[in-house]
């Protein structure tokens, strides 16, 4: 039985429909990340699950209970907010205690839980301080503590790391993941940061315009994006897209670029037989290019002029011009150092790594 399920969810604000017939099932123990750009509907979906917003139509179930009409406090959920939302006039202890305000636990149990949470999150020395006296990372922990203390099965996170600096973010990512493993709970996590999604999720739901574009594991979403949006959203630097046409002749399928260059995609796992003349978009990830002459067949060979090179110490991105547009490649930093702007470079691309999308619908072929 899924831990959380959304069935035919519709959400309208007056004349505007933000979510239309959205369906999603989350398994017990999953760490589901709702990933997408601002305005895609991920936070709306989270708030619907929390009960902070009401559905216009549809059903939400948690476990075997229909919670669509229940108040937030009755749903068996806990939530961590982007701005932590700690109660400013209460101490850390008071904040944690209030987390149990809706439960009718005896005071010894409450005290026991406060001690347990404080130990687990290492906030014991902070218990008598007020939020204003805490640092960003400490406030975050207290917010998480306020959620954990409820001992519920489902945790919701609303972009909790976006207010932290880069170093803290990495630390907290690991901590949240560790907590998930320890508590064996189900997590629904909203973010626009794909690195958070890729590193923490067991399942990712990529959203855009109120629609789930793809639902799958991080590997699936990365290796086999379902449409152009997912392909372009995941991966940094972004996947290179080029228009091409399919040429099917005697069992051999080739993708013909605008410039005339050809790529043999006969071994591509087409979902339906390839049609000759079909307009497609080829997606090529920057890390699937290599610099140098072709060693074997099955790769496409190009010789392209260098536009610029960006080095970030441990990484380097090389930008070449291909068909009057920029092509991004991942290269070793020392290699990038030796290349001059304007010089040409031989480049190969492994045909097996190509992603083909229907140029009209954007969907993966």
């Amino acid at each position: 039985m899924p831990a959380v399920s959304f069935e035919h969810i519709v959400k309208r604000y007056g004349a505007v429909t933000v979510l239309d017939d959205l369906n999603l099932a989350i398994e017990d123990g999953d760490f589901l990340v709702l990933l997408g750009p601002s305005g895609c509907g991920k936070t709306t979906l989270l708030n619907l699950l929390a009960g902070l917003l009401e559905v216009s139509d549809g059903r939400i179930t948690i476990g075997d209970r229909d919670v669509t009409e229940l108040d937030p406090k009755d749903r068996g959920l806990a939530m961590v907010f982007q701005s932590y939302a700690l109660y400013p006039t209460k101490t850390v202890r008071g904040n944690l205690k209030f987390g149990l305000a809706a439960s009718k636990l005896p005071s010894e149990e409450v005290e026991r839980r406060i001690a347990w949470v404080a130990k687990m999150l290492q906030i014991e020395p902070l218990l008598d301080r007020k939020p204003a006296q805490l640092s960003g990372g400490q406030r975050q922990r207290v917010a998480i503590g306020r959620a954990i203390i409820k001992k519920v099965d489902v945790f919701l996170f609303d972009e909790p790391l976006s207010n932290l600096d880069a170093k803290l973010r990495t630390e907290m990512r690991l901590e949240i993941k560790k907590l998930h493993d320890e508590l064996k709970s189900t997590v629904v996590y909203v973010t626009h940061d794909q690195i958070e999604a890729m590193t923490m999720a067991t399942k990712i739901a990529v959203m855009d315009g109120g629609v789930i574009q793809q639902f799958g594991t991080p590997d699936e979403v990365y290796e086999h994006p379902a449409n152009l949006f997912v392909a372009g959203f995941i991966g940094a630097p972004a996947m290179n897209m080029r228009s091409a046409t399919l040429a099917v002749k005697a069992g051999k399928v080739e993708a013909v670029f605008k410039s005339g260059a050809r790529l043999d995609v006969s071994d591509y796992p087409f979902q339906a037989p390839a049609r000759d003349g079909l307009a497609v978009v080829i997606g090529m990830r920057p890390e699937h290019f290599t610099i140098g002459e072709a060693a074997s067949g099955g790769t496409a060979q190009f010789t392209l002029p260098v536009l610029s090179a960006e080095r970030t110490g441990s990484d380097a991105t090389l930008y070449l011009t291909f068909e009057d547009e920029m092509l991004a490649l991942r290269v070793a930093p020392d290699l990038a150092a030796g290349l001059r702007v304007g010089s040409t470079v031989p480049v190969q691309f492994q045909a097996g790594k190509a992603n083909l999308f229907d140029a009209q619908t954007g969907r993966r072929i």
Binding site: A50, G51, L52, D71, P72, K73, D74, L77, A78, M79, F81, Q82, S83, Y84, A85, L86, Y87, P88, T89, K90, F98, G99, L100, A101, A102, R146
Partner: protein, 311 residues
């Protein structure tokens, strides 16, 4: 390299600092003639504002003989507390001649219940309208806005009937309750606007943690209301203490606040008017809110402004 200058380091080392002669002698700015003119004008205006207070104070300490001399601005030859004593203990208001102390304690007795009633109701109502999803909240707020501006006279008679029917007419309770009723729209708007500024996520967290209207109100919202409470208190204390119309309409003979005592004293002249008594009485009535004013000046301004702009 630290930002310490050569002379500072020398001073630190115990050596005598060497001050260098300036390269160019610059004329000091000083006070411009315009500044002087402005300050003089402002001071004259300040005097204009202080004149009534000065006159009232000075007159209250004079003997009636000196007052009859007609020199209103001179200081008392003899400083006497006779007027003060008379005003406090023997001034006549209507039939009773027990002094303004009666009115003083009446005003105090009106103040407390009225404050408690009006502020608690306004806080709860403002909270409900600001942070909860009530479909008709917008319409109600608009209605409150209108009610805040209607003249008292249009609801005066019905309110008199209501207080008479509930048998509180003519007592302190009527004055207190009517003050609370009249203040409700303004105070609710003030609290509502204040609570609207509370970050939404705090309310969301509270809904997930507790979801209880009253628990969230008492444990989260009220503790966060300190700032606006002080401002509202000052506004209400001043407004209730200084009010005359409600007091005279609803107080009858036993529930007269101090302002009514004072008005009776100065308007009903039986025999010769003792101006010293009148001025002492006026001062006695003015002192409590003036004390509040001088103690919390800045907040006072906020209070009155908030009441005026309805938050």
């Amino acid at each position: 390299m630290s930002q310490v200058s050569v002379s500072e380091r020398a001073a630190a080392a115990g050596e005598v600092p060497v001050t260098r002669a300036p390269y160019f002698v610059r004329k000091k700015k000083g006070i411009t003639p315009r500044s002087i003119a402005v300050l003089v004008f402002l001071t004259i205006c300040a005097l204009f504002f202080c004149v009534p207070l000065y006159v009232v104070v000075v007159t209250s300490f004079k003997t009636m003989d000196q007052i009859r001399e007609g020199a209103i601005f001179t200081l008392p030859h003899i400083w006497t507390l006779e007027a003060w004593d008379h005003a406090w203990n023997h001034a006549c208001s209507g039939i009773k001649c027990d002094g303004l102390k009666v009115g003083f304690w009446n005003s105090v007795s009106i103040l407390f219940p009225s404050l408690i009633l009006s502020i608690s109701l306004a806080m709860v109502t403002g909270f409900a309208l600001a942070l909860w999803n009530v479909r008709w909240a917008g319409g109600f707020l608009f209605l409150l806005f209108i009610c805040a501006f209607v003249p008292f006279q249009i609801i005066m008679y019905p309110l008199i009937v209501m207080t008479t029917t509930t048998k509180i007419y003519g007592t302190l309770w009527a004055v207190a309750v009517i003050h609370a009723v009249l203040a409700m729209p303004v105070l609710t708007l003030i609290f509502r606007n204040y609570y609207k500024d509370i970050p939404t996520e705090i309310m969301s967290a509270a809904m997930m943690d507790s979801g209880s209207f009253w628990r969230i109100f008492f444990e989260i919202i009220v503790p966060m209301s300190g700032n606006i409470l002080i401002v509202v208190l000052i506004l209400q204390i001043t407004s209730i203490w200084n009010d005359y119309l409600i007091g005279v309409t609803f107080g009858g003979l036993t529930g007269q606040p101090m302002t009514v005592n004072l008005a009776n004293l100065i308007t009903i002249s039986t025999g010769t008017t003792n101006y010293a008594h009148n001025m002492a009485a006026a001062l006695l009535t003015a002192i409590p809110p003036l004390v509040v004013y001088f103690l919390v000046g800045k907040l006072f301004v906020q209070g009155v402004t908030a009441g005026a702009i309805k938050g």
